[in-house]
């Protein structure tokens, strides 16, 4: 499971108030480099919950060798001037980001895999297992 996916997963067990973001308990991690795809990263950024990503990186980093790059506290977005170019505006918002920041973002989103571990609901503590990179999010019949 890459951190891009983790950014969208939540727990919605019956009675949960806020099951996002899930806390990560690491058992095994794997790193695999891939070429930086700047366009795709910029495409994804408007949809990513950045604080959740930073927290996830902090939870995974102790287990990585070399440790994961540090992400800036805030991503500075440029406000888009023209309103009707909203689609492009989403991309252009982050266009002024430093190349190294983009490379770091790419690395944490795509190159780190949680192979074995747990995703823990911040609300109820329910643990969702991750085995062979696949998170098992299926709710049990009493949690629907």
């Amino acid at each position: 499971m890459r951190l891009l996916t983790h950014n969208f997963l939540k727990s919605n067990v019956k009675g949960t108030e806020n099951g996002y973001p899930l806390n990560i308990e690491v058992t095994t991690i794997r790193c695999e480099d891939s070429p930086v795809d700047k366009e795709f990263v910029l495409n994804m950024l408007p949809k990513i919950n950045y604080p959740a990503l930073r927290t996830a990186v902090q939870q995974m980093s102790p287990y990585c060798d070399p440790p994961l790059p540090e992400l800036p506290e805030e991503l500075h977005a440029v406000s888009s001037s023209s309103k009707d170019k909203e689609e492009e505006g989403n991309n252009q918002k982050y266009n002024n980001l430093d190349e190294s920041v983009i490379a770091n973002l790419h690395r944490v989103l795509f190159d780190v895999y949680l192979v074995e571990g747990w995703l823990v609901c911040p609300d109820t503590g329910r643990k969702f297992p991750v085995k062979e990179c696949i998170p098992n999010m299926i709710l049990h019949e009493d949690e629907i």
């Binding site: 890459r2 939540k10 366009e39 795709f40 895999y113 696949i134 999010m137 299926i138 049990h140 019949e141």
Partner: protein, 548 residues
């Protein structure tokens, strides 16, 4: 027909004779991916002798000749200019295209075709070296050949030479070279073809290969002549060889009974406008065959399924990730989740996916399950200490719900203009206009039918998101999925059972079933016997008895 118009640059597209229903939809999608709209940037011209009774594997596209070199190119010459679209490499992405030809002339008979060439501009432009690649030789030095392509019939060398003699007026100065000439021309003689690609009026009778005079005397449906620009990147040349092989399912490490054949997967990714950098999603990923194809097209792949066994595969070396590795692709993102409650697994976010391509499970036997108690009634709470070993119960997931949920997920998670492409099996009672599921936010782009058996076929449906999704209307959308109520859904559910029912009604069913039963028993007995003999030999060898 206006092939003689000096304004037009004409391309003849030859399709493979398969998936006839898909030709138009696929080429429209591929061109659209490159920003080319048929009817706006180019026009489809009628073939000679239209309308005809049988489907034809050709299409003529006209471009204004001034646009070639400016907006479009057919060789590598103009690629240095920005935003010039190379038509040949774009079209070669179509799975169903065999070849792309610069059309010089067309007509019903070879004489008509010759006349069409002589009154056109193509000969002159060729002499001037227009539209040739940057490494084109001078007119006098170009080696050439003319390939004669006769659909549905074979002609002897002498007969082919006679056809070529009509084209002698072209009078190319360079040398004829059969192998790898600088320029390859093609003369095509088209006749009526049936659904399987065989001639409707075959020239030769089956066994003796004698010529059937009435059929032989029939005039051709059309004759075309032109310069070959390109052959599909899949190598679907007219000699029948097929680079599709490398994607063949036979070579895959991990397969299941429902793995989608690679050709249909490729077509689906084209219909879904998937290209490099697309974000593709398959909510019923199974063994990942469709997702793999999307990744081969350069997409980021995300797949979910409720069935953990199929996600994990048979072993570490036989699973979805292994299939991806086999093709040198990075592993896909896989999550075990339930598409019926997608909105409960994934947080609210802006529309995410460029394309959703999938083969949903139809019917209980096909494994359509969703989360929830196996039986209605009081649900026993799972004790904390058992939580992590507990196998979640699942319940049957009706086809009408599968489709309603799929369309809702597509409408909410696709970007505007993003496409949903799915496959739906259907028997003869299915009516495309009435029985397809609908959604306010998705417009129907195309439906392509593929016959499988006499009564059974498969439809590939393409939809496009053209309206923003309103979360508050979720239940309203679901209610309106089926125009005819769940009656339509029932037509696609449990097809295996329905086929079995239909087969049982046939007169000789009981007889055939009895024979099959006998055969199965015989095979079983033979296996038992072989096993007994093998064990006996072992016992002899070791001097010990294995039986308790």
């Amino acid at each position: 027909m206006s092939l003689n118009a000096t304004q037009d640059y004409n391309l003849l597209i030859e399709f493979v004779h398969k998936h006839l229903d898909f030709h138009d939809a696929e080429i429209h999608s591929i061109l659209e991916m490159h920003g080319i709209k048929i009817g706006v940037d180019c026009h489809a011209r009628p073939l000679p002798n239209q309308p005809s009774v049988f489907r034809r594997p050709f299409m003529i596209l006209s471009f204004s000749w001034s646009s070639i070199g400016r907006q479009f190119s057919v060789s590598d010459n103009d690629e240095k200019k920005e935003n010039v679209i190379n038509l040949v490499s774009s079209l070669s992405r179509c799975t169903l295209i065999r070849s792309v030809i610069e059309l010089w002339g067309a007509g019903q008979t070879i004489e008509d075709c010759v006349q069409s060439i002589q009154s056109g501009n193509s000969m002159r432009r060729y002499r001037e070296g227009k539209y040739l690649g940057s490494d084109a030789k001078k007119y006098e030095e170009r080696t050439w050949k003319i390939h004669v392509h006769t659909l549905g019939s074979t002609y002897t060398r002498e007969e082919q030479t006679k056809m070529r003699s009509h084209l002698a007026f072209l009078d190319f100065p360079g040398k004829v070279q059969m192998k790898n000439p600088d320029v390859e021309f093609i003369f095509i003689r088209e006749v009526d073809l049936d659904e399987q690609g065989g001639a409707v009026y075959p020239r030769h009778s089956g066994v003796n290969k004698d010529i059937i005079p009435e059929n032989d005397a029939r005039p051709s449906l059309a004759c075309y002549f032109g310069r070959v620009l390109g052959i599909s990147s899949l190598g679907r040349n007219w000699r029948g060889s097929n680079r599709l092989e490398q994607y063949s399912l036979k070579k895959r490490v991990y397969l299941g009974p429902t793995s989608m054949d690679s050709e249909l997967s490729l077509i689906m990714t084209n219909l879904a406008l998937i290209k490099k950098g697309s974000f593709a999603f398959d909510p019923f990923v199974g063994t990942g065959s469709i997702l793999l194809t999307a990744a081969l097209r350069g997409a980021y792949a995300f797949g979910t399924d409720i069935d953990l066994r199929v996600l994990r595969g048979r072993s570490q070396n036989e699973n979805i990730a292994a299939n991806f590795k086999q093709y040198g692709l990075p592993p896909p993102e896989l999550v075990r989740s339930d598409n019926a409650i997608y909105h409960r697994h994934y947080r609210d976010h802006l529309p995410l996916f460029d394309a959703i391509v999938t083969d949903p499970p139809y019917g209980i036997r096909a494994g359509a399950r969703k989360s929830g108690p196996r039986k209605d009634g009081e649900v026993r709470p799972v004790l904390d200490e058992h939580r992590y070993d507990h196998v979640a119960q699942t319940r049957p997931y009706s086809v009408s719900d599968v489709m309603a949920d799929l369309l809702n997920v597509a409408a909410s998670t696709l970007k505007m203009g993003g496409r949903l492409v799915y496959v739906i099996p259907s028997m003869l009672d299915f009516d495309e206009n009435e029985d397809l599921p609908r959604h306010e936010c998705l417009r129907l782009v195309s439906v392509c039918y593929q016959p499988l058996q006499t009564e059974l076929g498969r439809r590939t449906v393409t939809m496009e998101k053209n309206k923003e999704y309103d979360e508050k209307k979720r239940f309203l959308y679901s209610e309106n999925t089926w125009v005819n109520g769940t009656e339509s859904a029932e037509k696609v559910a449990n097809i295996r059972e329905r086929l079995l029912e239909a087969a049982k009604k046939k007169p000789d069913y009981a007889e055939k079933a009895a024979i099959r039963k006998q055969k199965r028993k015989a095979t079983k007995d033979a296996k038992k016997k072989a096993k007994r003999e093998a064990t006996a030999k072992e016992v002899e060898g070791t001097g010990q008895s294995k039986c308790p």
